[in-house]
Amino acid sequence: MSSRLGPAARAAFTVLLAWLVLYPILIVLTEAAHADAFAAFASRPGEWAALWASIWIALASVALAACVGVPLAFLFEWVEFPGRKTLGSLIALPAVLPPLVGVIAFLFLYGESGFVARAVRALFGLERAPWRLQGAGAILLVHGYSMYVYFYLFTRAGLAKLDASLVEAAQALGAGRWETLSRVTLPLLRPALAGAALLVFMTALGSFSAPYVFGGGFRVMTTQIVATKLNGELPVAMVETVALALVAVAGFAVLRRTAGDDPLTALGKGTAPRRRPIRRAGLRAVATAAGWLFAALLLLPHLTLALVSLVPYGSWTTEALPPVLSLVNYQRLFGEPERLRPLGNSVWMAAASTAGAVVLALAAGALVGRDGRRPWRFRGPIEGLVALPWALPGTVFAVAFATAFSVHSPPTLRWVLVGTVALLPLAYLVRSLPITGRAVLAGYRQLDPALAEAAASLGAGRWATFRRVTLPLLSPALAAGASLAFVAALGDFVTSIVLYTYDNRPIAIEIMSSLRLNELGVAAAFGVILMVVSALVLGLGARR
């Protein structure tokens, strides 16, 4: 049926996607191609330091996240203990919450005036805070803390897929516990681990909230770009953006190659290994304690956020625990319409951008995803363009959008959108495209082409087939993708800080300005709202 839509529609759609996704990047490339800008970039040691910092922070984050996530996955997948199920899904939560929420939660817990620092001060009677949470160490800590989830989830999925008979075969051939682990289990998990490593690397490379809040004088490329742009050195900012983009693409290519084909899928489905209830009481207690401890440690920041949101302004000075708890912050938020505006802004922009990303993803699916029988032209370009925003850090896109849409030149398809409320949701949309696109394209791929043919043979036209067969079958994938996209846009900070205007300032910007005004309770209350709305939307999206 796609055949009658004709190549013209595919070509037009490819052009539209290219304009949205690729064109702004190309404009940044041309603007960066100035000798002076490049010389300025090359001659400043700070630039190279920031670039190097981005790279090593990303790599170290991968190592740290693996150290936390992989053992945790083994613990929760292989050992049976009370509370395993609930805790197991709870500790996956930070992955889907906006990074900024995690960052401020961390600040409230481990920061100079956070709970832990206060407790230590009170315990030892110290004059000043025992530490300053700043610099590379702090950034790494936050990264490891929030990105272990990728390793945790990927490893668990890999372990669940693992055929128990492979492990048993190794044991029957005389391999001991460790030998089985190192020679069978871990090699089979390689694709899962490589997938998680890729995800952590890209996330850490593009991470902005943590370096922005905790970096201090320590700059990584994302914060460097925003600072340079604020200083008005636009050409240098372009060079920086290109440099970051190149690192991202290189990292993407290298890690993608490492992942290789998944040997587990090639072997087909096996029976998952049974969970081993530990028989020895002592060990069992240790495992249970470890599980609960990990979970408590990992969820503590988010609980802290809830607690701080109940602290009225100025009521908490030197005490170890806040003396007064009340709902006054929430009352102020919901009582004063002007204070609530960022919430409204974020909701409408997230809704609009998600709707747009869903429509584009459906169009892409309808144009290239249907018929597995023959290769369509434009399939590669369309799939590539949909995925591209994922391979580039958010800062790169933000700068590209700010550059591309600051000029009025309709013949080159450029209009002034900077300073209008439309630019930020448009950027959200492009950033959401890989999420919704991947969900929809995967959904289309699983769709049996015979179903559409069956509908046609029963007299259903193109639109009726889409409405009555394709859409209902895609709806679970669509709901999951849309809810993830909505939550990502709702809590976005990276793109927003470059592109927001006063009229559409989103929640993340409001949280940062509350922090600057030392209104910790208000910032935390916004954080909690963000968390609750995100969790609700995700729950809704995952519902079957």
Partner: protein, 334 residues
């Protein structure tokens, strides 16, 4: 013979080497035609051409006097049962069957659904989802769904291939009885000869995109048009050269000369052990109850399969073979 469904010089080219046709086929009203052939012979493509999922590069397709060559599938009024049934997984049985009944009002639609399910003996299954049904039940829902809108032609793509063998044989007979009861013109695709013979009024044998022979099962078996049909339909011994000549000389040829370049085909049941004829040794015996199949190796090393009584010979016996009836074909050059 006037066709209700007519394929006139239909051709479809996939690539330089893969093509179908030209196919000319006339299917009279109410006939069940089986499209038989090995995989890749173009039988499913022929079915999809009739359904409208593929458009021919040349030729015309006519259904009930209407040229449908350029008509999209939705307007051809062909009911189709897919190989894996393609039941809509998000709809229950009732909704699946009602899918093609958009034009009717609610009451008429409900009545039609009930009728169709009654027809395939699935009344009471309205609320089940496809995954809650057995393979045989799914197949019958697919059939009910295809028949409900009262199509002009029923098309079936390997409708029995997903059933287990024990069920298949019974379903074959039920399927034929049901189609005959409805009286609809039917084309169905299969790669199994037995299935084609059991269900079809006539069988069309396809090979490498070409129509080799269209005829009744008897016709196909006794008077195959080509060497391919002779060997694809039923068991056959294929012989060339001196052994072939010797068999014909033994009287089975009825005066047919075996010129060079001729190929001889003999069915196992047309060979018999005799006092004189082609000499050989029994190498294997396979017992099937009423009869046995004997593998006889001739002095030239050819192997012949003979169907005879269970006690006609033993392994190791030296025997002579005679043919009751042979078929000859010109040697085909690929």
């Amino acid at each position: 013979m006037t066709g209700f469904v007519t394929l006139a010089a239909v051709r479809k080219q996939w690539s330089h080497t893969v093509s179908i046709g030209p196919i000319a086929l006339e299917i009279p009203r109410g006939e069940i035609l089986a499209l038989l052939g090995p995989s890749g012979s173009g039988k499913t493509t022929s079915l999809r051409l009739i359904a409208g999922f593929e458009t021919p590069d040349a030729g015309r397709i006519v259904i009930g006097g209407e040229d449908v060559t350029t008509l999209p599938p939705a307007r051809r009024r062909c009911g189709m049962v897919f190989q894996h049934y393609a039941l809509f997984p998000h709809l229950d049985v009732r909704e699946n069957v009602a899918f093609g009944l958009g034009g009717l009002d609610r009451e008429a639609r409900d009545r039609k659904v009930a009728e169709s399910l009654e027809l395939v003996d699935l009344a009471g299954f309205e609320r089940r989802k496809p995954h809650e049904l057995s393979g045989g039940q799914q197949q019958r829902v697919a059939l009910a769904r295809a028949l409900a809108p009262e199509p002009r032609v029923l098309l079936l793509d390997e409708p029995l291939s997903n059933l287990d063998p024990a069920l298949r044989e019974r379903t074959r007979r039920e399927l034929r009885a049901l189609i005959k009861r409805v009286g609809i013109t039917t084309v169905f695709v299969t790669h199994e000869q037995e299935e084609a013979f059991d269900v079809g009024d006539r069988v069309a044998v396809l090979n490498q995109g070409r129509l080799e022979h269209v005829g009744t099962p008897d016709d196909l078996y006794e008077r195959p048009a080509t060497l391919f049909v002779a060997t694809f339909v039923g068991r056959a011994n294929v012989l060339r050269g001196p052994t072939a000549r010797a068999l014909i000389a033994g009287g089975g040829g009825g005066g047919v000369g075996a010129a060079d370049g001729q190929v001889l085909v003999v069915r196992p049941e047309r060979l018999r052990f005799a006092g004189a004829g082609v000499a050989g040794v029994v190498k294997e015996r396979r017992y099937t109850g009423a009869a046995a199949f004997y593998q006889v190796e001739t002095e030239r090393g050819e192997r012949l399969e003979v169907q005879a009584g269970p006690d006609a010979a033993r392994v190791g016996d030296r025997v002579h073979l005679e043919a009751a009836r042979v078929m000859t074909f010109p040697e085909q050059r690929e």
